[in-house]
């Protein structure tokens, strides 16, 4: 039993169990909750958050943090909307441009963090202000996207049995599979875990710590931009106020998914279960109808607390046994 609770996958399994419990409780309380479409809606509504949480997983696994993702998402929707509506770029070029912009933004933050030995927290905090500010420089109003390709993508439905998903879901799931492969089956992924475990040891092992760290923040920026593209499919608009506080949702999802904030411990796949738990809570509150939206915040806070304490106790005990 002890070896089971101290195994690395234990907290990840707790989250999955919690998710199943939440869904079963919902199914018992509300008829129609457990339908396939409601389950797929969880993914449709949170596809952008899943992509962002995947990028955040890499950052947190390496022992860092990225507070700029929500703002980069907003900036992406804004730049995409502006390029489409005012500059009349073709949609493919727009998507490529904003993804490159997100990756470059992240990479720059990575350079500042690694090469100038600055704290990730304060650098990405600056990045958060910068990206939000740049949104308002483009426009302080919301820009509606009328590009036919974006509209088609936003309305497209891909049927699975009698239910459907959006293209965004497919993109986010593909991203998840790719991320799991990168994190667990490539030298780069092992370097991420090594840096999160102990940066000095990683350095002494001869790993390219600097290059890896810049790449990690570039991935996070890229994921934030991809999340922004999915978000603009979903909302069909660019707006500087989009997705405020998303960085905290993403961090919460990663923590609830079983990744330790101190780095080096957890699974990228935990991002999925974490995001689904957050989504399930929101859906439950929406189904109830009498509970107001702020209950979501309180429940997420309580869950964060429980998971942090459980992780703390587990890691304290595993230290005692070793």
């Amino acid at each position: 039993m002890k070896s089971f609770t101290s195994a690395p996958y234990f907290t990840a399994l707790v989250t999955v169990a919690l998710l199943v419990a939440l869904l079963l409780a919902g199914g018992a309380a509300y008829p129609g909750f457990l339908s396939l479409q409601v389950m797929l809606n969880l993914l449709i509504d949170n596809a952008f958050l899943l992509v962002i949480a995947i990028g955040m997983s890499f950052v947190i696994l390496s022992g860092g943090i990225d507070l700029s993702v929500g703002s980069v998402l907003a900036l992406t929707t804004m730049v995409a909307a502006w390029l489409l509506q005012t500059a009349h770029w073709p949609p493919t070029a727009v998507i490529v441009a904003v993804l490159a912009m997100g990756a470059a933004f992240g990479a720059l933050q990575g350079v500042m963090i690694h090469y100038f030995k600055l704290q990730a927290f304060i650098v990405t905090l600056g990045g958060m202000f910068l990206a939000r500010g740049l949104c308002y420089l483009i426009s302080i109003n919301s820009i509606t996207i009328e590009d036919p390709a974006f509209v088609t993508l936003s309305q497209a439905q891909i049927f699975i049995f009698d239910a459907f998903v959006s293209p965004g879901v497919l993109i986010s799931v593909a991203m998840l599979v790719l991320a799991i492969f990168v994190a667990h089956f490539t030298p780069f992924g092992r370097a991420v875990y090594a840096i999160g475990g102990n940066e000095q040891s990683a350095q002494m092992m001869g790993l390219a710590v600097g290059r890896t760290r810049v790449a990690i923040y570039a991935i996070s920026g890229f994921c934030a931009a991809l999340g922004g593209v999915l978000f603009s499919f979903y909302m069909l608009s660019g707006y500087g106020l989009h997705a405020q506080g998303t960085e905290l949702d993403a961090i919460a999802a990663v923590v609830i998914g079983g990744t330790l904030l101190s780095g080096g411990y957890g699974y990228v796949a935990g991002a999925l279960s974490g995001v689904l738990v957050l989504g399930a809570i929101q859906t439950l509150i929406a189904f109830d109808g009498t509970l107001s939206s702020w209950w979501t915040k309180i429940v997420i806070g309580a869950l964060l607390f429980i998971f942090c304490v459980v992780q703390r106790l587990l890691s304290a005990r595993s230290k005692e046994t070793t």
Binding site: G133, L134, I140, A252, G301, L304, V309, R312
Partner: protein, 338 residues
């Protein structure tokens, strides 16, 4: 941890000691800002007496900066112990909400104020317990309250904005005493008490040693956990006071927006003031100057007719500039170039 330990080869020792003083950089930054204001904004420094109160841009800036100065004071002490408190904004919302609800409900003002500060102290104790007793990372520990605290405040008000019509309550945020805004006296009092405790007792030294090396401090016999616990309680008390000021100034409690992102401004103020985020050396006066820089910057941007949207971009550039100026690696880069 980096800037202070660098040897500074300066020939003129008298000027050198001024240049290397901890408060030199933030004061110089503030002076440059004020100089810009002097040149570009006519009548910036003019003060006049109307209805027995002083009026003028400077008074306006100081008055508006008061909540931020309080939050920054609390944050300084937390950051000095290698911590961080990102739930300050939520605490501001919570304390303002509690005060306004009780006053609107007819509770006598002293009881309402006590309850509001009490709520903030509870938040601080919660954060302190998580960090000091459970040894959670400060960012995560306070993230919990940052998310849930605002939710609790919204729950109390049912998402509505609560307006108060009780005249004496407005005094805290917009009243005047002897011609100066009353909020200034609160900041001055808090600053004086804390500065005295830091300079005249060993508390300042204790906090600094916890920040420089927590393990060594504990081995030297300091009760580090208790110290850390109380820094969070103090930070929350400051945030609670700031919450009262803000809600009294706008004559209402807005659980959704009150103190939104205030924690980030407070952290920025502390960093601008020369306190390293890595803990250890801290400067209370620096943080107050940092808060004034932020507010003056905002004021300048507005009065120069620059669109207010630019404010965030400028603020972020200031953050990067300050960070880079603290980075030893960045300085070495320049030295090598030369």
């Amino acid at each position: 941890m980096n800037a202070q330990t660098l040897p500074v080869p300066l020939a003129a020792s008298r000027y050198g000691s001024i240049m290397t003083h901890a408060l030199f950089k933030p004061s110089a930054a503030l002076a440059v800002l004020l100089l810009i204001d002097l040149i570009f904004i006519p009548g910036f420094f003019s003060l006049e007496v109307k209805d027995g109160h002083l009026y003028g841009s400077l008074i306006d800036i100081v008055n508006r900066a008061a909540p931020l100065m309080l939050a920054a004071l609390g944050m300084t002490v937390v950051i000095a112990t290698r911590g961080i408190d990102i739930s300050v904004g939520a605490q501001v919302a919570l304390s303002g909400t509690v005060a306004c609800m009780l006053i609107a409900g007819g509770t006598p003002m002293p009881a309402a104020l006590a309850a509001a500060i009490g709520a903030a102290l509870l938040c601080g104790a919660w954060n302190g317990l998580l960090v000091a007793a459970l040894k959670l990372q400060p960012i995560v520990a306070t993230l919990i309250l940052m998310v849930a605290g605002r939710g609790l405040a919204q729950l109390l008000t049912d998402g509505q904005i609560i307006t108060v019509y009780y005249q004496p309550y407005f005094f805290i945020g917009s009243g005047y005493l002897l011609g100066l805004p009353f909020s200034l006296y609160i900041v001055a009092a808090v600053f004086a008490v804390v500065a005295l405790m830091m300079k005249k007792t060993a508390l300042g030294l204790f906090i600094q040693s916890v920040g420089i090396n927590p393990v060594a401090a504990r081995l030297a016999g300091l009760r580090t956990a208790t110290l850390i616990f109380f820094t969070y309680v103090f930070c929350a008390a400051c945030a609670g006071l700031a919450g009262l000021m803000i809600s009294s100034n706008i004559k209402s409690a807005d659980a959704n927006n009150a103190g939104l992102l205030l924690e980030l401004d407070a952290i920025l103020a502390v960093t601008l003031g020369g306190t390293s985020l890595a803990g250890g050396k801290f400067s209370l006066a620096g943080s107050v100057i940092g808060a004034l820089i932020i507010q003056t910057l905002t004021y300048t941007i507005y009065s120069l007719g620059v669109p207010p949207e630019v404010n965030m971009v400028v603020k972020s550039l200031v953050v990067f500039a300050v960070c880079l100026s603290q980075s030893a690696e960045f300085k070495n880069l320049w030295k090598r170039r030369k």
